[in-house]
Symmetry: C2
């Protein structure tokens, strides 16, 4: 089952050549219990359900065009706030909320599906030994919120997909990219799978971490925490990183097929789904 | 809530002008208990989850391009057969299965989202008094299967979206179109909502019905039964119906804003979702 699943998720989006440009498409399913942190409002759930798809589109370097939302509702009274949040997120990124589907369901379930376009599609594959490994912004803030540091709640509850950043990085010439919403290290393992000819080393001292909490926790959150909507990318060492972006070199691409953090093989930890076989 | 819902579902698809053509997009959510008839195999569930979206695209007169599938799985072992059925349906209609998302869920939940293109988009609105009202094929076979007439099971379990038919009807110049998967009369009420300036009359003697069952049941299934994947359309009386299609005139478009069957106001019955407010 994993093998079939993997074939279908080696990139954040499917890519279709389309005239002189490329259409990218992504779909994401979220469930109340498994995917929405406790304490969120329905407006925030609507926002997040769109944000996850916009983040996938951003990770391809694409400009979002529209998002559709299928909502399985346990109570009809929740719909208005959910759609309000979904529309706010679409509006914030210049995407249309193109309707969707409604259904009754025991557990609130939302699936957002989005379309974007890019002349420079960037996938998870494409990293080359010698490339730099970079991340955008501070890592681990959403996890800090999950662990009770409530001043970081906005990062967890109203994540901001990095659409402009993804487009700029793709244009600048990054060789591979993905979003890190499942966690940095687990995402590097995903990238490892898409890049059989190389591996990744991370120097944790270079990680932009949450500053105001104990350093051990902060390091842990930045490496293994989920819920951040940052971008991970690789680029040639000579490439100029867009100056207007909050982007950090945290390591490099190596020839060996492994993920090393501070010289040791990294634990494959992060946010993962578990099925009963 | 209904009002918000209705705003978002006045057509089977959202339509975006796209260069010289139009992109249409649709998303559909299906749950194991509410939407899949008992007795289906997982391969058939995969097939149906794609078929509903292809039918929405067909009802706009569009050619499907790709479908994405988000699957919330109760047991991972089901995935292979589900994806097999989804892929078979896509392959049968020349659409790509463009990956999707996987997730764990207590109840099997599937959301398919599809994109198509058409130079002649046809919506639910556009009917004009004096137009003919038409349907494709025999009505009520899926409902007959649901009611225990098992020789009709294939129509219920492996519905065939009328993609070629929708494209031909759009090119021929139909003024409005939708699919009838929720039932004929309930779909006419949906069309009524999209067409404030007219209404519909049906002469039930003209309905192509299931022949081998008692006439009373057959009439009921054809008017109110769900699960058929036929098309309902309106067209000018002078328009030539494509000769290669199994299409039937069953009534006409009138000035009064009502749905009449054999001269009486039709019951608003059919397949509907119920929410706890």
């Amino acid at each position: 089952m994993e093998i079939i699943g993997r074939e279908h998720c080696l990139d954040d989006c499917a890519v279709f050549p389309f005239g002189k440009t490329n259409m990218v498409a992504s779909t994401d399913m979220l469930h109340e219990k498994a995917d929405f942190p406790a304490g969120m409002t329905d407006r925030q759930r609507g926002w997040m359900s769109v944000a996850v798809t916009l983040s996938d589109i951003a990770a391809m370097g694409a400009e979002p065009c529209f998002v559709m939302l299928a909502v399985g509702l346990d109570r009809g009274s929740r719909l208005k706030a959910i759609l309000q949040g979904a529309k706010e997120c679409c509006d914030s990124y210049g995407a249309a909320l193109a309707g969707g589907d409604l259904d009754a369901h025991e557990e609130l379930t939302m699936v957002s599906s989005g379309i974007g376009f890019t002349d420079h599609p960037v996938g998870r594959a494409g990293a080359r030994p010698g490339d730099l490994l970079c991340v955008t912004g501070v890592q681990g803030r959403a996890q800090a919120a999950l662990e009770g540091y409530h001043r970081y709640d906005p990062f967890l509850f109203e994540p901001l997909p990095l659409v402009r950043e993804g487009i700029l990085l793709a244009k600048a010439g990054v060789t591979s990219m993905m979003d890190n919403s499942d966690g940095l290290v687990i995402s590097l393992y995903d990238m490892l799978e898409a890049n059989p000819g190389c591996g990744y080393v991370v120097d944790s001292r270079l990680l932009p971490m949450v500053a105001e909490i104990p350093p051990d926790e902060s390091r842990d959150f930045s490496l293994y925490g989920g819920g951040d909507f940052g971008l991970i990318c690789t680029c040639p060492s000579w490439m100029e990183l867009p100056g207007e972006l909050d982007i950090h070199v945290i390591g490099s691409v190596i020839q060996d097929h492994e993920v090393l953090v501070d010289g040791k093989e990294a634990d494959m930890k992060g946010y993962q789904h578990v099925w009963n076989e």
